[in-house]
Symmetry: C2
């Protein structure tokens, strides 16, 4: 347990992951209101929109309006997502309001890469070189690199650990060829195949080969393992986590309709703070965001704390009683 970090960094992805999977008729003003609420929780990173093809992802058709409409706040990074050059160019128009960090992605599953990007691995690697050139031309450093489907794939099955380690090496080498360093390296449980044991196995293998890398985990809760997997990550010393308020989200390309989305931010914050790990996030405010997110999407969301509540009121009642 000595590897457990004293503080962790949470990258709130609810607005992007959540609204991209919703049917598209959510008012832009509600999306902006949620982002502004999230910015007041103490979370330092919010991924707020995705500049993607609105025909393929109608929930992101209003990305420009969302990005133009939220209220910037000091100390909070508001990030866009893009998947290609065109999306990046759209995001660049708002760079004064946005935290622009370059991202690289390789896929641990060839089958998922084909399905998601219609590419073979060599094409995906070539595309990363092109992305770096584009980032460099715009003075943008590489904030993160990511191995998608690192723990298993619906279309390819179990993923060998060695393949993930090799892909991490490829990402580092691609960046290095352009004189770039990678801020943090992510492992994605894109289709919710991970258990605490595989989290430890894969994180351990990557960390053994590349001990100086800052790792982050991108976890889904489709099979109920999200918080347990985050705990396994904590035990392995991982201090950076993507998560989504209320458990919003899910990948629209992974065939998971109706199943839970990303690991839930407030459930993760609860675990961390109760274990004495600082998140910088006000749990009560995050729970309010989760409840608001549920009213915004108009259907139940999977988060637990928003229903079960935190322990604060019970502890306060106890304190009041002992003072009286």
């Amino acid at each position: 347990m000595t590897d457990i970090p004293g503080s962790i960094f949470i990258y709130e992805e609810g607005p992007r992951e959540g609204f991209q999977i919703e049917s598209g008729d959510i008012p832009t003003a509600d999306k902006i209101a949620l982002i502004d609420m999230l910015a007041d929780t103490g979370v330092r990173h919010i991924q707020i929109a995705s500049f993607v093809n609105p025909k393929l992802v109608p929930g992101m058709a209003d990305a420009d309006a969302v990005v133009a409409g939220f209220t910037p706040k000091a100390g909070v990074d508001f990030s866009p997502l893009w998947l290609n050059q065109r999306g990046f160019q759209r995001a660049l128009e708002y760079r004064s309001r946005l935290h622009m960090e370059g991202a690289l992605t390789l896929y641990a599953s060839d089958a998922f890469l084909k399905r998601n990007q219609n590419r073979v691995p060599e094409q995906q690697r070539a595309a990363q070189h092109e992305l770096i050139a584009m980032y460099q031309a715009n003075g943008i450093s590489i904030g993160r690199a990511f191995v998608s489907a690192a723990f298993g794939c619906n279309f390819e099955g179990d993923i060998p650990v060695e393949r993930v380690v090799r892909l991490v090496g490829e990402l580092l080498q691609i960046a290095d060829e352009h004189g770039e360093e990678i801020g943090r390296l992510g492992l994605g449980d894109t289709m919710a195949w991970a258990t605490p044991a595989s989290i430890k196995r894969v994180v351990g293998a990557v960390r053994e080969r590349y001990p100086d890398l800052t790792l982050f985990l991108h976890l889904h809760d489709t099979r109920g393992q999200g918080i347990a997997n985050a705990y396994a990550g904590l035990e392995m010393g991982v201090a950076h986590y993507d998560s989504a308020v209320a458990g919003l989200g899910g990948c629209p390309f992974a065939g998971h309709a109706g199943a839970a989305g990303n690991v839930c931010t407030e459930d993760l914050v609860f675990m961390a703070e109760e274990m004495g790990i600082d998140t910088g996030i006000d749990l009560e405010k995050m729970i309010e965001c989760a409840r608001f997110a549920e009213t915004v999407v108009g259907h139940p969301l999977p988060g637990s704390l928003m229903k079960g509540g935190s322990l604060k009121k019970f502890r306060e009642a106890r304190q009041t009683a002992s003072v009286a």
Copy 2:
């Protein structure tokens, strides 16, 4: 990780925990059908009903009919629950069909004990002596002893670890005074205050003081920590878990209406089996039970695997593809 057991024992409590909290109009035949389905999954212990006051727990008003109606199966223990002498006497009438094991309970929270049993600790200890006398008079050994609210209490707040260790000692002493041994000793996260850290802290303290005890955990998922807490238990070598199919249940006395119930059996089985830990349970059959339980109660239940599905079909498709 060397403490992780190679196999675990799951005590299915869905029929008892689940139906006691439902509004009471579930057909008895459906309850029996679920029990019979569960008995076919490979699970070896099913708590099927509670002999309690039907005025207080209307969902258990048909306990006699349920116990008389299920189909016994070799290798499966079908257990009743009782809270007092009257309930025990009702269960005794069916002892030829039931696995009758004596249970002792102490409360780590005086406030919850008062609320739940209207007793002070001394009365609760005295009641355990009376229970043993009753068990002995009927030739029934003490299968389990239990510390309720061992990880925190809505009515009393955080619970000191030393208190839990002391209560375990009291349970052992009470049994010993009657020449009895305790089969397994349970720690209950009755109101879902536990995190993996407190699971490790409390289990570790109990195990250090009483290394030869067989421990079990009774976990609730109200705050989304159930599976993570079970994983922490596995890491501490705990091999016995109460759980409920589909995440049925929740304690009607703990003020958790609308919140998640017990840790979900099939989500726990998924984690264990994916990590190479034998449960003896057919996951696909357990998922079918969970889906049936949802139709029986007529509202969504919190389990994840019943929505997300297992990995079996993806692995089989992959095998088929590689053969073709």
